[in-house]
Amino acid sequence: MNRIHNAFENVKADDALKQNTADFISKEIAKREKQNFVFKARYAAAAFAVVLCCVLGVVLYSLNVTSVSFISIDVNPSVELSLNCFNNVTAATAYNDDGKVILYNLKLEGMSYQNAVDEILESSEFDSYIKDDSLLTFTVVSDNDEEITKQIESCDNYKKYNGECHSAESKVMDEAHENGLSFGKYSAYLELKEYDDSVTAEQCNKMTMREIRNLIEEHTGSSSHNGGSNSENKNDNACSESNVTETKSTCSSSGKQHGKSHND
């Protein structure tokens, strides 16, 4: 032992100093744990918000890009519109060369289907395919087909061209695409096939909707579309203008049975 050691031996922390320090540390620990908890809670909330935003973003994106409804527009040009759950166009696909001509200058993605239909029907390219006896057919595949049919029928251009509107089943659409046809034209092909087994999808693909309809009428003996659409158009107009509800339901229900009978 040395003198310095002995001298420092009596220098000690008193109990009060120890207690004050212990109290201070105890309070600090409690304060920091509380802050830590608040920080963690905030961090967790922020992380949760970020995750939620990401999930919502992914859900919204997938809802936005997932097609749930489809509209086939056929004259000779055959065009299909794919719609998301918000009824906005996610894709516009041409199923023949004429369809490609129509879509060439149109940017339809993101539009509501009503606007997209108007854009197509108002385009000069589309107008050039419409003749006196042309048959404009809309075919809808959707869980919400009645509403979409109703909306299409209320379009001014639909009335102007005296269009027809039907519904179809998604199974028909899948088959149509396997055969390289729009499902509108394929539905007409299936109807014709009921009367004439020899007709092929490939043959129908080269025909206009009017030509397919005329062949069907040859078998059914119906003449409502004969020599153009004027007589039927008048009926359609009268129907849609005087009793819209009835027209819509007629179109829709006949569409449900599409492949067996058109809206004649």
Binding site: H5, N6, N10, F24, I29
Partner: protein, 163 residues
Amino acid sequence: MRSEYEANRAIEQYSDMVKRICFLHLKNHHDTDDIFQNVFLKYVTSTTEFASQEHEKAWFARVTINACKDLLKSFFHKNMVPLDAVAEESFSYSDEQSDVLEAVLSLPKKYKDVVYLFYYENYTAVEIAKIMNKNENTVYTLLSRARKLLKEKLGGDDFEQNT
């Protein structure tokens, strides 16, 4: 963050050493309280894993010395004189102890820690060099000069301890 239990154990174990280092540098209770709080709070919040008790003790010595130096360097401390700045510590010393303490406290700042760590805590010069982050030879030099000064003031040969 360490627990309250660990903090209390450390206070019980190291408060005397912390107090002695404070005693070397500070002249009032208020500053000593501050250093105590700072050092033990630093311990509680430190993530340092101590390999042994010796490692932990050396950590306390280093942190306390640095805390005292920081306090003395601070602008506030240099420019303010607390009311109890002249209050004397109420330890009971013999005349001999008092003389030795006075001699150690009168040493230039740079010698005090080295003398305390060497003579009281029985650290070797190598260990002191690590604690104080100084060159080993510098510690030898500081010890040698401090010893010479103490010998001049106190006389005797018992400062001649093998380093």
